[in-house]
Amino acid sequence: MHNKINALRITSITILTSLVLLFNGYSFKALAHDESSATEHHEQKFNAGNLILDHIGDAHDWHIAGHFSIPLPVILYSPAGLDIFSSARFNHGHDDYTSDKTNLTYRLHENKVVVVDSSGNIDESLTSAMYDLSITKNVAALFFSAVLMCWIFISIAKSYTRNPGKAPKGMQSLLEPIIIFLRDEVAITSIGKKHYKKFMPYLLTVFFLIFLNNLLGLVPIAPGGANITGNIAITMSLAVFTFIITTVHGNRHYWRHIFAMPGAPVWVLFLLTPIEILGVFLKPFVLMVRLFANMTAGHIIALSFFSLIFIFGEIHFGAGIGLALFSTVFTVFMMVLELLVAFIQAYVFTLLSAVYFGSAVAEDHHHEEAHAH
């Protein structure tokens, strides 16, 4: 059913909006037709929640258009051994697959691979013992963006080395202001001139990976459309990296600031130290949640407006077409807003990472400044 809706979404929206003016005159005629057929459609009732969750979630195949989707490799590691097979074997969740190597039967249950026993029930203990390292839609999209990013920046680096000292050209001049902005306004401002250099590669990589994936997430067709930065596993990994780098680079003042705030009375420390220790973990946690929530929310809103078309379309055909215009306009507005959000969230993640690094390497005389952050 999802495939049908997906197909409708991608192919019909453009047709619907372009024909909306033409069809407006027929809306009364359509009303009569729609009421007679409403009962027939009842069993196939459109479920916006499922559509949206399906889109922002992960999948074992990459849906392109209509019934066409690219099967992705399923990689499963369990105590019994490693199984690698194509997700096409699941036949969109209709079939189970039994591996000859490990003699385990796998099933696609709610977009997740589970192990089933001989009687056809889900084997919870074997499922929880299994590691799913499949190349899912998000992983494939991530690979794509990683390759794209390497290609873009290595080609830029080449053009830098080809004409050193010259004014930037093309892609170079598009991205150089961002790189300089990150260096001057994010890294140097937050970390300081003395230490910023060693954090630059991480900050740049994080910024551009998030930014690129945010933008690709806005592209509705493959290889875009995956909600990578709106996936909590991705934001968690990034936040953990920031946490590890902060902790590793934390100097004497940083730890002293956490465990025994200078200048605070001893009785205050009993209150302050647990809060500061909690803060150490809270900071990356907030990083993780902020990016995840912002990107997911953006996708949910955009998809909700699309879903409105079909919800109203089921009630009344004319209303659906009328709403298609409204929804499209609003989705365009949301997309433009999301372009801004894509930059802002990448910037905020980078900036906060830089601020945390800054507090970790801050010298004693920077103490007040670091504390203010």
Partner: protein, 164 residues
């Protein structure tokens, strides 16, 4: 909620991908890019500083030129002034000398005139004296032509001597 439950596979692949991307980018992209940007900034900064220095030098040169010019002008003024002074002095000196000379000539003329005059007067006096003697001689000759009158005179003279 599946949405907020991090998926192990995705964390694994993300970590692997990120680390690979990070190290590739660090070595092949960020390193050269940041280095080149910095080098370019430094070269631009250097060029700007050099231009600034050249400008300063130019200004310095110009000000020294101006100073030289002012000095030359001052020198010229001084020279002109001196020349004018010399000229004036020369003129005044010449005037003085001329005046003195004319004065001297005048004085000389006056003196010689005086001398001539005195000489002329003396000459005149002598002539007058001679003429007077001649006249007196003639008168005396005439008066003493008789013996009587000679006697009277001798007597008179003797009387005068007596009186003395």
């Amino acid at each position: 909620m599946d949405l907020v439950k991090p998926d192990f596979g995705l964390i694994f692949w993300m970590t692997v991908t990120f680390l690979i991307v990070f190290f590739i980018m660090k070595k092949f992209a960020w390193g050269p890019i940041l280095k080149m940007i910095q080098e370019r900034e430094e070269s631009i900064e250097g060029a700007l500083a050099a231009a600034e220095k050249a400008k300063e030098e130019m200004e310095k040169l110009q000000s020294s030129n101006e100073k030289l010019l002012a000095e030359a002008r001052m020198e010229k003024d001084k020279m002109l002034k001196e020349a004018r002074e010399i000229r004036e002095k020369m003129i005044s000196d010449a005037k003085d000398a001329a005046q003195k000379e004319s004065q001297r000539i005048l004085t000389e003329a006056r003196n010689s005139i005086q001398n001539e005059k005195v000489a002329a007067i003396n000459e005149l006096k002598n002539q007058v004296a001679l003429m007077s003697i001649e006249i007196a001689e003639k008168v005396v000759k005439k008066e003493l032509s008789s013996n009587e009158s000679q006697k009277v005179l001798v007597n008179t003279l003797i009387n005068d001597i007596k009186l003395n």
